[in-house]
């Protein structure tokens, strides 16, 4: 099956084309669209399963699959359109097609009544295709096709309801932030080619350590530029602001793209090019500390958000920070592990939120209310109407909070342990660990707050709305259930030894991460009492956060959006997301547009070049001509005088 892995890309691609054609020709053929849209994903999932089996049966070496020569430009630069199937891509393949299938299925219910149904599935299928290219690419440029392609789909899907200006703006913002990151990736590629002479992952892993000195400027620069790309794609400081806005898209999109798959591409890339990072310890520190800071700050913002999707969005940013903290410590497997479990529970959370919004929207629609269906202040007590959703989301909440034995516990614990372990030798990592721990507390808090505001207490959205609330259809709850199960058992992938596990994922990924880890100092994980203390602490923090979150939320009265007083002090700062967006707008976007318009265009182009240089030359010529014309005064006497002057001049040259 490995040799047919391109089918996994081709199927969604064909699905995208087919759905695209339907979207233009017969946009109302919903049944066909659902069939194609979900079918191709299931097909891709089947292919992925086959691939996984073969990789598992293999001996650890990667399979490279040459499709065709993409850019055969010279002897020294020939970029093949080649796919690489190895343990890492197999895992990613499973996550993308697996979670992807579930979300596609969910979308069938969620988007049922949207006029752009076919278009939606076209975009979503296209996204999956690009995402698979990203993870399957055998070289940076090929991955880059997927890397930018998913950005494109993200752009299209965020702005899916394009008639609302804010949605289009959000899509554009997402793409631009991604592009800032892509700038980094491009520069990294240029440097890699000139220094290492190749852009293939396999060849890089092999040649880079020989060519680039350990800890050297070049390796560091390359790694940092790559990481810039990751911050863009994975919404890390300083480029994280686009992700919360991206919630403007349909909720399944948020689940698939902005939680489970695309935004984790940065983590994937760091692992893929682990060798380069391993050669640059400084860059690793930057990655880790950026990740930890992002985890911390995003969590603080999530504390005060009232939009259910915004909370989840900042939660995603925060969780991505964990992943970077993991890869920044060199615990690549832990990063991937958290990526996988996060995909499960965050997808579940988003889809659950989707159910809630769906239900709220319908109920409000029936009741003629125009309140915001996403604002948690309008919710409350939904567990009665939506028991399944409540139970499943509760599972996910416990998982993300890190309660054992749910999946999140294992993956998060692995990361914190790794950061703690690195902290033994490098104080910076201790700080990162502390930030991570604090973020964990806040995670538990804001998630339980979310649950409490949404499902517990009494409904605040109006009595006319309440009767219309109901559980989502089966096509939506079924995927939730599957994700719920995965969130529970996901930890089994990489069970640590203290529960009798054997770090399955870590060993599985070893062939991929080994070239990088070999270059770094070995990571000595805490053992014995230290380990148990850490675990106990983490559990305690999670429980504390959960309990405080639920109790404080239930105890306070929650005002409806209309009558909510203005936030003050630190709350205002958190509610306003530290006003980073406003800062960027004031600091970069506004001045740049002003500068381009006033200085460059009107100042330089129109005034200096056109009016002064070009127009000026013309006017000077005209002026001289006018002057000459005035001298031509019609008086013979003057003409003769001119003549005489000429005579004198000529004769003087001859005589003198």
């Amino acid at each position: 099956m490995t040799h047919f892995v391109w089918l996994a890309i081709l199927l969604p691609l064909l699905g995208a084309v087919a759905n695209g054609i339907i979207a233009v020709r017969r946009p109302d053929s919903r049944r066909l669209v659902s069939f194609i849209g979900v079918g191709v994903l299931l097909g891709a999932f089947a292919v992925s399963l086959g691939v996984l089996r073969e990789v598992a049966a293999g001996h650890g070496e990667a399979t490279k699959l040459l499709l065709w020569q993409w850019i055969p430009v010279s002897d020294r630069l020939t970029i093949d359109l080649a796919l690489q199937v190895d343990q890492l891509s197999a895992v990613m393949l499973m996550v993308i097609t697996g979670v992807g299938s579930l979300i596609h299925l969910f979308s069938v219910g969620y988007m049922q009544e949207d006029p752009g149904y076919a278009r939606y599935f076209a975009y979503l299928n296209l996204f999956v295709a690009f995402m698979l290219v990203l993870v399957l690419g055998a070289s940076l440029p090929v991955s880059f096709i997927g890397w930018e392609g998913v950005g494109l789909c993200s752009y299209l899907l965020i702005g899916f309801w394009f008639e609302v200006d804010a949605n289009s703006d959000a899509g554009k913002k997402a793409f631009l932030a991604n592009r800032i990151g892509d700038f980094g990736v491009l520069i990294a590629m240029f440097m890699l080619w000139w220094h290492v002479g190749t852009l293939d992952y396999a060849a890089l892993a092999e040649k880079a350590p020989a060519v680039l000195p350990y800890g050297g400027t070049i390796a560091t620069t390359i790694a940092l530029f790559l990481f810039l790309g990751c911050t863009g794609k994975s919404a890390q400081i300083p480029l994280f602001t686009w992700l919360p806005d991206a919630m403007a898209g349909p909720t399944p999109v948020s689940a698939l793209i902005h939680a489970a798959t695309m935004v984790t591409a940065g983590v994937f890339l760091v692992v893929r090019t682990g060798v380069i990072f391993a050669l640059a310890p400084v860059a690793m520190e930057v990655v880790a500390i950026t990740g930890a800071l992002t985890a911390f700050f995003a969590a603080t913002i999530a504390l005060r958000q009232n939009d259910i999707k915004k909370v989840l969005a900042y939660s995603t940013v925060s969780q991505l920070g964990y992943m970077f903290l993991a890869v920044g410590t060199g615990a690549f497997a832990a990063g991937i592990f958290h990526l996988v479990t996060h995909a499960f529970f965050k997808a579940l959370l988003f889809l659950g939120a989707g159910s809630v919004i769906h239900s709220m929207h319908h109920a409000q629609h029936h009741a003629g209310s125009h309140a915001d269906p996403q604002d948690m202040r309008n919710m409350g007590g939904l567990r009665k109407a939506m028991p399944w959703t409540f139970i499943l989301m509760a599972i996910a909440t416990l998982a993300i909070a890190g309660l054992p034995p749910l999946s999140g516990f294992f993956s998060k614990d692995e990361i914190l342990a790794a950061a703690f372990a690195r902290g033994e030798t490098n104080g910076l990592y201790r700080v990162a660990w502390g930030l991570g721990l604090a973020a964990a507390l806040m995670t538990a808090y804001y998630m339980s707050r979310l649950m409490a505001m949404t499902f517990l207490g009494t409904f605040r959205g109006g009595s006319d709305v309440e009767p219309h609330l109901h559980e989502a259809p089966a096509v939506m709850t079924a995927p939730l259930a599957v994700l719920g199960i995965l969130s529970v058992i996901g930890g089994a992938l990489n069970l640590p030894s203290f529960v009798g596990g054997s770090h399955g994922l870590e060993h599985w990924l070893e062939p991929v991460t080994e070239p990088a880890t070999r270059l770094m100092d070995a990571l000595v994980m805490p053992h014995g009492s230290v380990e148990y203390a850490l675990i106990a602490g983490a559990i305690a923090i999670a429980i504390t956060g959960l309990v405080v979150g639920v109790r404080s939320t239930l105890r306070s009265t929650i005002p409806t959006p209309a009558e909510a007083p203005a936030e003050t002090g630190i709350r205002r700062l958190l509610y306003g997301k530290y006003f980073i967006d406003e800062l960027y707008q004031k600091l970069f976007v506004g001045p740049l547009v002003w500068f381009s318009r006033r200085v460059l265009w009107q100042g330089f182009d129109q005034f200096l070049v056109d009016r002064m240089a070009v127009g000026g030359t013309a006017r000077v010529a005209q002026g001289l001509g006018w002057l000459g014309s005035r001298l031509q005064n019609g008086q013979v006497a003057f003409y003769v005088t001119l003549f005489a002057v000429g005579v004198v001049l000529i004769l003087r040259t001859l005589v003198g």
Binding site: S629, Q632, G634, Q635, V636, A637, V640, T641, A644
Partner: protein
Amino acid sequence: MLLGPSLALSAVLFALGVVGVLIRRNVVVVFMCVELMLNAVNLTLVALAQLHGTSGQIMVFFVMTVAAAEAVVGLAIILAIFRHVQTVDLKQFNLLKG
């Protein structure tokens, strides 16, 4: 024989003609100054003919003929314009300019 003085005289005459053209405003006078210039040259040619033989003198005849023709045409032209503007003041002849 008196080559130097003759040449000098003719140069002076020529210069007088030029200056006359430059400063006088009456068309007829200006025209006479031009004639003076031609005749100054004639004097030069005659003077130089002492040195180089008769060809200079032949030239003088041609010049005289030409000058006569020029005078005819010139006076006719002056007459023609006089009919339009009723003046012989050169300053008034500035319809064409720019």
